[in-house]
């Protein structure tokens, strides 16, 4: 039997008595910080372009999901984390997050070409890369899985009382998976230290957000679990960093999880084999022309008096590093055949 609602009780507006995080400020970065953001984003851009090229030449196989266009998200957010304590987990579009952590491009590129020197010794590939040293927990191929896994990382932070925060990235597509909401519920119930980052690049493969999501304002997806959400301009690295600061303040003070919806855009197809016919070329071009995160930082730098000529050496240095990583990844040997049977289990029985 359904309960009869009490007629006399006045229904309160749902949010007034709940504490909310402040609206984040755009981060005010020093010139050095801005240059560092520029360098990291450009590294991701050039690395991904090169990866696309190597895929086209057959050096990289299988699925390869590029991060081009979304650079500001990983760079802005991860720059705010404490590398000693905090952990990060993401899905299969993972190259950018690893580069933002300063992991050697050679090790990443060699994983893409399936070589022994790759970060997963060639056995994982593009979608399955990990660096426990950097507290980067992958690199997961099943849509949405990393949300529960990230919640588990947060559980471990709380259990160990290590002061760390977990950051779990997932896309607008993954935000419709059931386990996301099961995780939200537990995270809020147990006040787990986690930042859920929805990288809303507006297309889950070929399906736009409004064709797949009844509530397409994804930052609101935590409301029924009392998890606050903030919508962020994911094409602006300073907005991303500012949001991360606010989110970290919330989570570190023991208030439980928070959601950041990063409005971003991927310039390329879902994967290398997606012709992306579901959107117009004009749409992509307009994002590139008006909202490019790297051009945005360039303008900020210009305002601080950094000229194009002063950026040239950085560009050259990045191009060189990326080319070296590609040369290395093409030439370094494949795993030894005996590696086929290693790492299946840890122990011997």
């Amino acid at each position: 039997m359904a309960k009869t609602p009490a007629k006399s009780r006045k229904i309160e507006p749902p949010v007034t008595n709940r504490e909310r995080p402040n609206e984040p400020d755009r981060y005010s970065a020093s010139k050095e910080e801005l240059l560092q953001f520029y360098r990291q984003m450009l590294l991701i851009r050039r690395f991904e372009e090169k990866a696309g090229q190597l895929y086209g030449l057959g050096f990289i196989g299988g699925f390869c999901h590029l991060y081009i266009g979304q650079e500001a998200v990983a760079v802005g957010l991860q720059s705010a984390l404490d590398g000693e304590k905090d952990s990060v987990i993401t899905g299969y579009r993972d190259h950018g997050h690893m580069l933002a952590y300063g992991i050697d491009p050679k090790e990443i590129m060699a994983e893409l070409t399936g070589r022994a020197a790759g970060i997963s010794r060639g056995k994982g590939g593009s979608m399955h890369m990990f660096s426990t040293e950097k507290k980067f927990y992958g690199g997961h191929g099943i849509v949405g899985a990393q949300v529960s896994l990230g919640t588990g990382l947060a559980f471990a932070h709380k259990y160990n009382e290590d002061g760390g925060v977990a950051m779990a990235y997932f896309g607008d597509g993954a935000s419709n998976q059931g386990q996301v909401y099961e995780s939200f519920n537990m995270a809020e119930l147990w006040k787990l230290p986690i930042i859920y980052v929805i990288e809303n690049n507006q297309y889950a493969m070929g399906t736009s957000v409004n064709r797949s999501s009844a509530e397409d304002q994804l930052f609101r997806r935590g409301e029924s679990f009392r998890i606050p959400g903030i919508q962020v301009d994911g094409m602006d690295v300073l907005a991303c960093r500012g949001a991360a600061e606010e989110a970290l303040k919330w989570v570190r003070s023991g208030k439980g999880p928070i959601i950041l919806e990063m409005k971003t855009y991927r310039y390329r197809g879902h994967s290398m084999s997606d012709p992306a016919k579901y959107r117009s070329r004009d749409e992509v071009q307009s994002m590139r022309d008006n909202s490019d995160p790297i051009e945005g930082v360039k303008k900020e730098l210009e305002a601080l008096g950094v000229t194009e000529d002063q950026l040239k050496p950085i560009e050259a240095e990045i191009r060189k590093a990326v080319n070296e990583s590609a040369d290395f990844a093409e030439q370094t040997p494949e795993p030894d055949p005996s590696e086929l049977y290693t790492d299946v289990l840890v122990g011997t029985y």
Binding site: G61, G125, M127, H128, R211
Partner: protein, 463 residues
Amino acid sequence: MAIELKMPALSPTMEEGTLAKWLVKEGDSIKSGDIIAEIETDKATMEFEAVDEGTIASILVAEGTDGVKVGTVIATIAGEGEDASAAPAPKAEAPAVEQKAAESEAPAPKKADSGTKQLASDKAASVADPEVPAGTEMVKTTVREALRDAMAEEMRSDPRVFVMGEEVAEYQGAYKVTQGLLDEFGAKRVIDTPITEYGFAGVGTGAAMGGLKPVIEFMTFNFAMQAIDHIINSAAKTNYMSGGQMRCPIVFRGPNGAASRVGAQHSQNYGPWYAGVPGLIVIAPYDAADAKGLLKAAIRSEDPVVFLENELLYGRSFEVPKLDDWVLPIGKARIMREGKDVTIVSYSIGVGLALEAAETLAGEGIDAEVIDLRTLRPLDKDTVLKSLKKTNRMVVVEEGWPVCSIASEIVTIAMEDGFDDLDAPVVRVANEDVPLPYAANLEKLALITADKVVAAVKTVTYR
């Protein structure tokens, strides 16, 4: 030095394509990210983006050229180092003639071939099906088209049938299996879902309980693991638990097994998993005629069916009988090749390898019989045992892990019901017992080959 632009591959299997259109001309300056050309294959059109910056020095392959091999130099760019002097000049500085010569050699890239190449070779001969009436016209059809035709025919004849899944409608199928269905049947019956496998598998199962006939497409069966509870606990057990009152006529279909270089989480054969579940029918066809005839049977069945396709076979063509209603019986294996010395049992993509091995063995005087199980549950024991009685030797070929596999089941059947017919222990040829590695060389080592089948046959025939 001029930077060479090479014809890119759009997928791991692409070898050549059409240079459909140039969006730049010689002398144009380009920067990283600019779309410079459109490239077409039979499956898709892709935009080719510039990675390097500079000026287009020369265009070496004209637009509209077909059959351009991957790796061919299609244009050159004068790089940044040179553009100070060359950029404003529209005249290309690289000597085009010299470049043309280089182009004709079409340098092959050092491609790391996928181990899946060894799974789907063209060497396996096409086999005639004795169930096809004599004189029937046969039409070359890809497995992809055969599956689509099966769904379309059943949708035309039964309004209860609908198709639901990720990217099945507007995108025309992640692997283009549902191509054209949205146009013909509309959005009511061809339904794009969000990425919510557990949810839509449950919605489909409920709709089947409610009297509809859903065809639920999983983008791959790897993602069906998110939904396996509904397949097993909700769909498979309904009829039994309700004492036969409540039916669940649903088809769960999609690609299964190893695909090319997609790594451990996207390369698994779920045949043995589902075949262990009472209440399910499990079908895993090899060629296009079986794919069509069995998918039609699956859709018509009153029981829940798990229909395991194979991505590596989608693009392969086979003869399909041109009949108004080509429906095959569920639960019947097919003798793909008759022989007297040894029986090779397989299913799905393993059948091609078994046929290829049988050809090789014939050259060495060993006459192999090849059986395609086609349905994994219920398993056609009779056909297997009858063949064993004739040949007295058996090898099972399975693109999947060896432990607790369909091969294990066939071995058990031979032990329990065919022991007296065995002149040698049954040998199984399966993938290595490890998660599928990404590295090309390890992937090749992990997967089965026709050579391994030949070796196994020699073991059981003591050659």
